[in-house]
Symmetry: C2
Subunit: 143 residues, 2 copies
DNA sequence: TCCCCTAGTTACCTCGACGAAACCCAAGGG
DNA sequence: CCCTTGGGTTTCGTCGAGGTAACTAGGGGA
């Protein structure tokens, strides 16, 4: 493992070719730590919510209506997770129709930057991916 | 939806507050398209493989030994997916112990950049997340 | 009177992601 | 004769993510 995020990563190829050391040439710690955070991105809903909250403070039902497709349960679960990880704050107004507002913390705002980078990359290169996909499928079908 | 990757996104809040239009004020297309690409990041293995291939060309068994924990099946499935989406190329040498090499395409190399950004962010902010997590758990337990 | 609104929680169920392990070919080594 | 090696495919089983629906509170509107 060990992503070589900005380290000079010659260890991966070395480990695979030499193979004398069992499999511990990489630093598994880094990979694990990175994954712990990156796995949030896999969450189907977390990214969308963080992106939405990037536009400012929002109420629960606002988010639910904005995300379209998310269930009540998953919204609460996801928001709890984001709160636990320190990305959002939850503010409860004990009025009688309850009112809860969610807002990004500094950490959440920080996360927004690489997330937006990934998002705009995705938007920009979407067509390339679709083209590759159809080309691949055509090739596979022709075979 | 609509991530507001770099657009001025006032529509999300507007849609939630006005609520006159059913739910189509955002541009759902962008969100869907972005997700289509971002969902790759959720794949538990795709990111690791792309990162590893960022260090150069690699053989199947090399990758399998380097990733540690991936099963034969998931490696083939993930690599096929990455090949289909145009991120990696698959080169078969029809020798008699078979030899297959995987390498990032230009698209894959392009993806590497936002991925590394996210990865180094994750590494840099891992501690903040863990701290928030333990603080939250302590608060929850004390309640 | 009854329903709806907000922000949840809970129980139940489904379905797909993923792992484990067996099987494949063909050549080469003991 | 069997094992190994590389790069798979296939089958089977599990487990958890996530959806659905019903419940909670109290006040306002028809």
């Amino acid at each position: 493992m060990s992503y070589a995020t900005d380290l000079t990563e010659t260890s991966a190829s070395r480990a695979a070719s030499t193979d004398t050391a069992p499999s511990q040439v990489h630093k598994p710690g880094q990979c694990t730590r990175a994954n712990e955070v990156i796995s949030l991105v896999g969450d189907k809903w977390s990214v969308q919510i963080v992106m939405l909250l990037g536009t400012g403070r929002h109420r629960f039902m606002e988010i639910k209506r904005a995300i379209e497709g998310i269930s009540q349960k998953m919204l609460t679960v996801t928001l709890r997770g984001l709160e636990r990880d320190g990305y959002v704050t939850r503010t409860v107004y004990p009025t009688i129709p309850p009112k809860v507002e969610y807002e990004l913390t500094d950490l959440g705002l920080d996360l927004l930057e690489p997330l937006r980078a990934l998002g705009s990359w995705a938007l920009a290169n979407h067509d390339r991916v679709v083209a590759a996909r159809t080309a691949y499928d055509a090739r596979a079908k022709a075979k």
